[in-house]
C-alpha cells in the first residue's frame, strides 16, 4: 500500500510550467528515488509535498487521506541547501527546530541526547554552528530532520559534503530508519546510491515524468539482452548471427567479454556457445547502471 501519493500535480510560475501532471506513488517502508536533471521540477515537487507551496491542480494523499496542513508534523525534510542559524548554539537550535515540529522541549531534549550520543556529537552541544565544519553541520541538520520520528522523510542530496566514513554512517542510518518503519523519498544525482538504496524511482525531465517503476525492473527492461562472460585464460569470441561482441578485455589471466544477443535467443544456447570458446568463470546478464539509463532516457527526450 502507498504511504504517500501525488496525483496529476501541475504547478506554474507565471508562464513557466514547473510540473506538468506528475504523479508518484510511494509504497510504505520503502525508499523512493526522485531523479531528474537540474531544473526538472524536483525541488518544486518536494516543496509541494512539504506544503511549502501549493499545486495549481492535482491531489496529495498521505496514508490514503488528503494531505492536511497538520501533516507537516509527520514529515521530515532535509533540503539540498542546508540551513542553520550560524550564530545560534547547536543544542538550542536543534531544540528550536524540534519545537517547530510540535515536540515539547523536554521530549526534544531526551531524543536529542540519544541521537547526539549515537552519532558521536555530544561535544558539539554548546558550540555555535559557525564553529563546526560543513560536514558536522550536515550531521546536525540530519538529526533535526529525523528527530520528530516522521513517517515520511524527504532527503534532498543527503550525502553531499560528507566524507566517505560519515556518508556511510548516514547511509546506514537511512536504512535503519526504513527498517524501523519510515518511508523515504530520496532526491539525488548520485546514481550509485540510487542503485544501492532505492526500491522505486521516478525520473522527471522538463516538468514531466519520463520513467517510473522499481529499480530492478527498470534495469532489467533496459538490459536489452546484454551479458557479461568471464573466462579463465586469454579467450576470444567472434560475433555471429546469434550475438554481437561489444567489448573484450584481458588482464590477470582473465578475459571479460560483453555481448549483445539477438532477440529470442535462449540463454542456454548462448552458454553452450561460450563453453566452446573456453572455461567459464561466470556468466551474468549485464544490467545497465542507473547512470547509463538516466543519461540515455534524458538525452533521447531532449
Amino acid at each position: 500500500m502507498s504511504l504517500f501519493e501525488a496525483k496529476n500535480i501541475t504547478k506554474q510560475f507565471g508562464n513557466v510550467t514547473a510540473l506538468d501532471k506528475v504523479s508518484i506513488s510511494v509504497p510504505e517502508k520503502s525508499i523512493y528515488g526522485l531523479l531528474g536533471p537540474n531544473g526538472a521540477g524536483k525541488t518544486t515537487l518536494i516543496r509541494i509535498i512539504n506544503q511549502i507551496t501549493g499545486p495549481d491542480s492535482g491531489e496529495l494523499y498521505l496514508n490514503g487521506k488528503k494531505l492536511m496542513p497538520e501533516d507537516v508534523q509527520t514529515i521530515g525534510y532535509l533540503p539540498e541547501e542546508r540551513g542553520l542559524y550560524k550564530k545560534m548554539k547547536v543544542g538550542e537550535q536543534a531544540v528550536y527546530f524540534a519545537q517547530l515540529k510540535g515536540l515539547s522541549k523536554s521530549e526534544a531534549m531526551r531524543r536529542l541526547k540519544y541521537w547526539f550520543k549515537k552519532l558521536d556529537m555530544v561535544d558539539w552541544w554548546g558550540k555555535k554552528v559557525e564553529e563546526l565544519s560543513k560536514g558536522m553541520q550536515q550531521k546536525v541538520q540530519f538529526v533535526t530532520t529525523i528527530l520528530h520520528e516522521p513517517k515520511l522523510i524527504i532527503f534532498d542530496e543527503p550525502f553531499t559534503g560528507f566524507d566517505p566514513v560519515n556518508a556511510n554512517t548516514i547511509k546506514n542510518e537511512i536504512l535503519f530508519l526504513r527498517d524501523r518503519g519510515a518511508t523515504i523519498i530520496f532526491s539525488t544525482h548520485n546514481m550509485g546510491s540510487v542503485e544501492e538504496l532505492c526500491d522505486n524511482i521516478t525520473l522527471i525531465n522538463k516538468a514531466k515524468t519520463i520513467l517510473e517503476g522499481s529499480v530492478d525492473e527498470i534495469r532489467r527492461q533496459w538490459a536489452a539482452n546484454e551479458y557479461e562472460i568471464v573466462f579463465s585464460g586469454n579467450v576470444s569470441m567472434k560475433s555471429n548471427g546469434q550475438y554481437k561482441i561489444l567489448d573484450h578485455q584481458y588482464d590477470n589471466d582473465k578475459s571479460t567479454i560483453r555481448l549483445k544477443a539477438e532477440k529470442d535467443i535462449p540463454v542456454n544456447e548462448l552458454i553452450q556457445n561460450a563453453l566452446k570458446s573456453g572455461s567459464i568463470i561466470s556468466f551474468n546478464p549485464a544490467l545497465p547502471s542507473m547512470n547509463e539509463i538516466f543519461i540515455r532516457v534524458v538525452e533521447s527526450r531532449n
Partner: protein, 453 residues
C-alpha cells in the same frame, strides 16, 4: 506550545541576549543623561576661557565703565591710551581684544569696533551692544531733563508673558504652555520615527539572514511562511518595547540619582537654566520642596508653573496614541521591510527598494517638524491622516490638541492600511524567500501577489 510563540520566543531571546543589545540598552540612557548633565557641569565650573577686554575711547570718556563685567569676561577701561600703541602690546598684557568706541556712537550705530585675533562669540557682542544701548538711551533721556527720571524708568519697566489657556470639548479650560507642547511634539514625532525605522530595518536584516543561510526552507516545511514572518515581526516589536521601557526607567533613575548627589547643594536656578525645557519641569517637581522654592523663588516658581502646565497635557491621550501609532506604524513598515528582505539575495540589493520606503518616513518627519510651527495647517492635517506619514505627524500634532474625529479617521485608516500591507507583504514574502539568484524588481513583486499559495 503554539508554533508562532516558539518563533516569537526565539526572535526575542536571541536578540535580547546579544552583547550589542545589552550594551546599547545600558549605554544609551547614560549617554542621554550625560547629554543633559555635562552642559550643566560645564556651566557651573569656572569658564576656562576667561577673557579680558581693553576698552578705549577716541578722546572722550562718555562710556567710562558702562560695560559691566560678566563671568566670562572683564571689561577694563583704559584712559588716555592710544589704540595704535595698544594694538602692539595688548596680547602681552593678557587682553583678548580691544574695544574701541567713538563718541560718535551716540548718533552713528556702527561707530564702535572690537579688535581681536579670533572671531568673538556672539554672547560677548550682545553683552557689549546691550550695555551700550542702555547707556545711550539713558543719556538721551537725561538730555530731556525730566525730574525723577530713575524712578519713572523703574516704574515703566514691564515684562509681558502670554498665558495660553486651552478650551476642551466640554468647555473646561486648562492652562498650557506652547514650549512644552512643542517639546512633546518633537519628542513624540522623532521617537516614533526612530523606533519604526530602527526596528523595521532589523526585521529586514533578520529575513535576509534566514534567506542567505537557507534556514527559511527548513522552517517553512514546519510552519506557514506568514507565521514565520509574523513571529519575527512580533518578536522584534517586543525587543523594541523592552529596550524602550528599560531606557525610560534607567534614564529616570540616572536623572534622579544625579540630582540627589552631584547637583544637590548647587544653585538650583543655574541647573535649571541649562536644562532643556521638559527636563526643567521634571527637576522642579523632584526638588521642589518648599524651602528650596523659597530660596530661589522667581525662577523656580516659573518652573513649577511650567511643570503644572506640563501636567495639564493630556498624558493619557498622548501615551495611548503613541502606543497605538507605534504598533500600527511599526507593523506597516516592518511588513514592507520583511517583503523587501525576502525579495533580495543580500543586503546591498535592498538599496533600490529602500528609497520608496524611506521617502514617506523622512517626509513625515519633515512635516512633523514643520507642524510645530503651525499645527493647524492643511499640510499637517493631510499628512496626519495619510497612513504612511500619520504616525509621525499625528504624534507631533497631538500635544497641540487634535479634534477627536480627525484622530478617529487617522486611526481607522491606519488599521485598514496596515492590514492591507501585512496581507500583501505576506504574499510577496511567501514567494520571495524561496527565490534565489534572480534580480527582483517592483514589477516582479507585484506579480508574486497573484501567485497561489
Amino acid at each position: 506550545m503554539n508554533k508562532i510563540s516558539v518563533i516569537i520566543a526565539r526572535e526575542y531571546i536571541t536578540r535580547v541576549r546579544k552583547k550589542s543589545f545589552i550594551i546599547m540598552t545600558i549605554l544609551a540612557p547614560v549617554l542621554m543623561a550625560a547629554l543633559m548633565v555635562v552642559p550643566t557641569l560645564l556651566m557651573m565650573n569656572e569658564d576656562k576661557d576667561f577673557k579680558k577686554i581693553a576698552v578705549v575711547e577716541d578722546g572722550s570718556d562718555l562710556f567710562k565703565n558702562v560695560i559691566p563685567d560678566t563671568k566670562d569676561a572683564d571689561y577694563i577701561y583704559l584712559e588716555n591710551t592710544d589704540i595704535k600703541d595698544l594694538l602692539k602690546t595688548y596680547e602681552q598684557a593678557g587682553y583678548y581684544g580691544i574695544l574701541r568706541i567713538s563718541p560718535e556712537l551716540v548718533n552713528t550705530r556702527n561707530a564702535i569696533w572690537l579688535y581681536s585675533k579670533q572671531q568673538p562669540p556672539i554672547g560677548l557682542l550682545d553683552h557689549i551692544s546691550g550695555s551700550l544701548e542702555k547707556e545711550i538711551e539713558r543719556q538721551k533721556l537725561l538730555a530731556y531733563d525730566i525730574k525723577n527720571l530713575d524712578n519713572i524708568l523703574k516704574d515703566v519697566k514691564t515684562d509681558v508673558s502670554v498665558q495660553t489657556i486651552r478650551i476642551d470639548e466640554s468647555g473646561q479650560t486648562k492652562q498650557t504652555n506652547t514650549g512644552i507642547a512643542m517639546a512633546l511634539a518633537y519628542i513624540g514625532g522623532f521617537l516614533m520615527y526612530m523606533l519604526v525605522f530602527m526596528f523595521g530595518a532589523q526585521v529586514m536584516r533578520g529575513v535576509i539572514e534566514e534567506k542567505i543561510s537557507r534556514v527559511v526552507e527548513v522552517i517553512v516545511s514546519s510552519v506557514k511562511p506568514v507565521q514565520l514572518m509574523m513571529g519575527k515581526i512580533v518578536g522584534i516589536a517586543l525587543v523594541g518595547l523592552t529596550q524602550f521601557l528599560i531606557w525610560v526607567f534607567l534614564t529616570m533613575g540616572i536623572a534622579i540619582a544625579v540630582k540627589s548627589t552631584i547637583l544637590k547643594d548647587k544653585n538650583v536656578t543655574e541647573i535649571a537654566q541649562s536644562m532643556p525645557q521638559n527636563m526643567m519641569s521634571e527637576n522642579t517637581a523632584q526638588t521642589g520642596s518648599p524651602t528650596q522654592t523659597a530660596e530661589v523663588s522667581p525662577q523656580l516658581a516659573e518652573f513649577s508653573r511650567l511643570f503644572d502646565n506640563a501636567m495639564n497635557q493630556d498624558w493619557l491621550l498622548i501615551i495611548l496614541s503613541f502606543i497605538f501609532f507605534f504598533i500600527t506604524g511599526y507593523l506597516l513598515y516592518a511588513s514592507v521591510f520583511a517583503a523587501i528582505g525576502s525579495a533580495v539575495d543580500n543586503e546591498t540589493e535592498t538599496q533600490q527598494f529602500m528609497l520608496p520606503v524611506t521617502i514617506p518616513i523622512i517626509l513625515g518627519l519633515m512635516v512633523a517638524m514643520g507642524t510645530m510651527q503651525n499645527p493647524e495647517s492643511s499640510v499637517a492635517f493631510w499628512f496626519s491622516i495619510i497612513p504612511l506619514t500619520s504616525p509621525i505627524v499625528m504624534m507631533a500634532r497631538i500635544p497641540f490638541g487634535v479634534p477627536y474625529w480627525q484622530l478617529a479617521i487617522s486611526m481607522v485608516l491606519m488599521v485598514v492600511t496596515f492590514l492591507a500591507f501585512v496581507w500583501m507583504a505576506a504574499k510577496v514574502y511567501r514567494t520571495g524567500i524561496l527565490m534565489y539568484g534572480k534580480k527582483t524588481s517592483w514589477k516582479e513583486m507585484l506579480k508574486w501577489l497573484r501567485y497561489n499559495g
